[in-house]
Symmetry: C2
Amino acid sequence: MGTAQLTAVPEPKYWHLRTVLLRAIDSEFSTGQVIPNERELSARFGVARATLRQALDQLELEGRLVRRRGIGTLVAAPRVGVPVSRREEGWPGSSREQAWQPVDCVSVAAPERLAKALGVEVGALVHTVRRLRVEQGQIVATELLRVAEEALEQVPEIRLSGAAAEGEEQARVVLRRLERLTVDGESRAVELGVAEAEEAGLLQRPPGTPVLVVTTQYASAGRLAALAVSTYRADTCRLTFGETGLVEVTPVSAIRTAS
Amino acid sequence: MGTAQLTAVPEPKYWHLRTVLLRAIDSEFSTGQVIPNERELSARFGVARATLRQALDQLELEGRLVRRRGIGTLVAAPRVGVPVSRREEGWPGSSREQAWQPVDCVSVAAPERLAKALGVEVGALVHTVRRLRVEQGQIVATELLRVAEEALEQVPEIRLSGAAAEGEEQARVVLRRLERLTVDGESRAVELGVAEAEEAGLLQRPPGTPVLVVTTQYASAGRLAALAVSTYRADTCRLTFGETGLVEVTPVSAIRTAS
């Protein structure tokens, strides 16, 4: 074949330490347990504090360790499997689905890029519903769900009693209208991203935290009905697509090396 | 609702600069263009070189910039959409599928964890095929495909002429046998990982590079037939699942902010 290049790239010192630490964590500690402090660890592994800290930072980024002020560094719980598909997650408007909680809604004339993404004219009315996904009591994702008013044309407008609908109430109205559409297709893209300031705040993580960005197009009656951009915490989530339920998906670390 | 916490987490200086730089790149430069050097940039934005470098590192990690020795820092090409589903990608054994190139194969008695992951007895014979995925001339992923010999029981062993099959040849034999099974289900999980030394070498990236790890279970005749762990470069790939083909999925940056 000739394409395989098995020449190893030189491994930085902290990276080697990270691998050694990971093995120690896997074999000696259990979830939620506090690992020894930095002084003890640097003595045990015979490394400088700076190198140790770099390795610990890396493991925290990977979601293997969690630092708690006043407690120390703990072994993180395994990532939560989060189903990502309409069948399991429910159509975005589904009221039966409690995983997604509406936060607010903004309705504006679409600027150029958004209009293009939704396949509508510039200036067309677009609703943006913001939601949070909660799993096992933890916020795992934040989402912007975009729906052009014209995609809801067939669905009667739901009037709210009293004053103009705002925020969360308006979000519920848009979702309820969306629910009446029949979804006949969806396509998804998953990519690595970093939490921007606003998302970071909602996910309760610092800006720049790695996230998994899922972009979903929902089609109804041959046209794009809604576009969702969901931002999942990459440290705590594993996105799952259509489980066969045959054998539980094993943590990747167990099966990721060739021998 | 009460769950939304819109209080902004304080933004580090380099993070703010990264966002400013990103906006400048989007509006003033095109793919492949060399951006000004560090001295010019730190003068233009009035920041210390260390802060600038941190912001540039971040944008490189995000796959927005590429550093080329002797040339400078370039605006990276947009991420490649890589279809991840059997329909588009072909059953792992499919010889029609050229995207995955077999590299080698190791056949061993399964240790405990691997046996559990495959739902076979400890010590059962397991083939591990290593493959590389090439898209547009670039290596985008490396994969370990695990197949228990007993899952291939119904499929006659293919004998190779001459000496015992090894490496790439053995990989092709396993894939050809796998191809004769009918797949009746598959389930996937996608999560963030970091390239371990061996994978990093194959992907031609330094160890620790962020990757998207896709674990796929293939079911045949009600049992697990194969287990694949694919490691995609997170800087250059966007994984796609079942495109509706209605509207091209827009780069996420265009639609990721609420207003």
